[in-house]
């Protein structure tokens, strides 16, 4: 019997779920070519190239033709700055949380120390509490802290402590550390200790053993943790919503702001571009991974 043959029921439900997963995405991409400026109706694709003409809310003509909304998007400097912010926050917090998380995983897995249970428990908390609780509590803390410091240290003007990208980064690091730790811990658990023991028997001290033996072996776990952290940071909305300040929105915050105004297909164009980038990046990553194997 072919172990890969599936019952028609399974195949049908799989296709259905894939359809469910992709239908909204397809709709989003399709509407980025919509001629109508604000109506949720699809009134057709802009076909004429020429100077910009808007009649009854429909774009009849555009210098970029059907790609009008993409050109509209390119004039939008705010999007690019939001994208920059998102990447900056994600990269910074990923690097820091990966280092700290890996250290934590090593500590919890390999060593016995007094605060061990406390650390383990406190690392589980961010995973099991809703993000809104974490966002609110951090906001409460920052507000009180800044008010107190600003008045007692007499900080004024630009020197005032306030919410901004750095508070977002701090918050992101905090909720990413537990995830990284978990991933690396799992990897450490499955590790064969004999390699390390052999290295030590051969005369290597602990630091060298770590550098030359342990670390390369846990590297896939560390990278998986880093990737997970990066994903969480890029997509994060709730925690960023409570901890960011004026003028430094990340992409999810910016998109949410757009949604509160008149929604033009420019937003759809943004989605399409985003998906394109993601596809390219993930595609290349997959190719590299398979080549390494």
């Amino acid at each position: 019997m072919n172990p890969y043959r599936r019952s028609p029921l399974i195949i049908a439900s799989t296709l259905l779920v894939f359809f469910f997963l992709y239908a909204p995405i397809v709709v989003l991409i399709l509407f980025s070519f919509n001629a109508s400026r604000i109506s949720p109706l699809f009134t057709g694709v802009i076909t004429k190239f020429g100077s910009y003409q808007l009649v009854n809310g429909n774009v009849l003509q555009s210098p970029c033709g059907p790609f009008h909304w993409f050109c509209d998007l390119s004039k939008n400097t705010e999007v690019l700055s939001a994208a920059r912010n998102t990447l900056f926050v994600a990269i910074t917090s990923t690097i820091v949380s990966t280092i700290i998380g890996t250290m934590a995983a090593l500590a919890l897995q390999r060593y016995n120390f007094r605060l061990r249970t406390f650390s383990q428990v406190s690392l589980y908390i961010p995973i099991v509490i809703p993000e809104v609780v974490m966002g609110i509590t951090i906001l409460v803390m920052f507000s009180q802290l800044f008010s107190y410091l600003n008045t007692s240290l007499h900080l004024v003007g630009d020197a005032q402590l306030s919410l901004g990208l750095w508070t977002v980064i701090l918050a992101h690091i905090s909720f990413m550390i537990p995830f990284v730790t978990l991933v690396v811990q799992a990897r450490l658990q499955g590790l064969d200790k004999s390699y390390e023991e052999a290295a030590m028997d051969l005369g290597a001290n602990e630091w060298v053993t770590f550098q030359r033996v342990t670390f390369p072996m846990i590297l896939p776990g560390v990278l998986a943790g880093a990737l997970l952290a990066f994903t969480l940071s890029i997509d994060d909305f709730i925690i960023t919503f409570f901890t960011n300040g004026p003028g430094s929105p990340t992409l999810p915050i910016y998109v949410f702001g757009l949604l509160r105004r008149v929604i033009t297909p420019q937003l759809n164009a943004l989605t399409t571009v985003w998906i394109l980038i993601v596809l390219i990046v993930v595609f290349f990553t997959q190719r590299l991974e398979s080549r390494q194997r």
Partner: protein, 306 residues
């Protein structure tokens, strides 16, 4: 001293854990303590906090208020308990629906030919890699009065010469459920897939050899072995659903208020951070309790890691 560090394993461990502790204490424990303190306070007329020790916020949450019709001292309103209950139910429904949708897909991919698994998994992940907020926007476009579904149905009705009244789908509890199910589906697919993939093919062969029907195999072999994945998926879905406020904001209009909305509301328009803090802490305790009992019964499910 460095020598002492080298020799004491305990000291090494402590050193490694210090940065983590700094973050966990500074960004988690301290804020929680502060929020606890605020939750015992009262709101000042200006929307700030008066620090006292009073359980009035918790009492209000439980439903007992002194803000009653004239002549009555304290009365009961089930308002906030209803919100909590509604959020719990939504979390439950979303989780169940997500399991039902995720399982066939995860099963299919897990038992597909190895060379296809990566590609299929990649296809599952692509929607997840688009922005969370944008995915909600997509549902707004689909469910609106003049959205995709209504336009399609209208066009079909036109073909059949039937009268058509657009369905009012958006700004209903159903819309919020659909949005939640969609948002968190990939988080359920991933862990279930991971645990299904670990199941050795030979187990299925053995079951077949022993005369078990496909259904029996599923019940006795597949399902129990996929438990860790389902548990991890449940935690990854249930907890965020309890706390998300955007989905109910954008798709629920004013009709669906969840705990997340209530909390956000108290810190913004309602200007009662003391009450908002109380609600946050109660929500947190609730999710911890539910998660604790759930993992106690079914295990923690380390397959959170894909």
């Amino acid at each position: 001293m460095l020598k002492r560090l080298r020799e004491s394993k305990s000291a090494q461990g402590t050193l490694l854990i210090v940065p983590t502790l700094i973050f966990m204490i500074g960004m988690l424990i301290v804020p929680l303590m502060l929020t606890l303190v605020v939750s015992f306070g009262q709101r000042s007329a200006d929307g700030g906090v008066i620090y006292t020790f009073s359980l009035s916020n918790y009492i209000r949450l439980l439903g007992f208020t002194s803000d009653c019709p004239p002549g009555v001292q304290t009365c009961f309103t089930s308002l906030y308990l209803v919100i909590l209950w509604r959020s719990l139910l939504l979390g439950l429904y979303t989780t169940i629906l997500d399991i039902l949708l995720a399982f066939p897909l995860a099963y299919f991919i897990a038992r597909a030919h190895p060379k296809w698994r990566d590609t299929l998994m990649f296809l599952v992940l692509v929607p997840m890699w688009t922005n969370f907020v944008i995915r909600v926007y997509a549902w707004m476009m689909i469910l609106r009065q003049q959205g995709v579904i209504n336009s399609l149905l209208g066009w079909l009705a036109g073909l059949a010469h039937l009268p058509f009244k657009p369905l009012g789908m958006i700004y209903t509890p159903g819309a919020v459920l659909a949005g939640m199910v969609y948002e968190f589906l990939p988080f359920m697919i991933l862990p279930i897939y991971t645990s299904l993939e670990k199941i050795d093919n030979s187990l299925f062969e053995a079951a077949a050899d022993l005369g078990a029907s496909p259904f029996r195999t599923f019940l006795r072999v597949t399902l129990p072995l996929s438990m860790p994945g389902m548990v991890a998926g449940t935690i990854l879905v249930f907890v965020p659903v309890m706390g998300t406020f955007i989905v109910s904001d954008l798709l629920g209009g004013s009709q669906v208020i969840l705990v997340g909305n209530l909390i956000e509301n108290q810190f913004l328009a309602a200007r009662d951070p003391a009450f908002g803090s109380a609600v946050s802490l109660v929500l947190m305790v609730l999710t911890i309790i539910v998660t604790y009992f759930y993992t106690r019964k079914f295990g923690f499910g380390e397959e959170i890691i894909a």
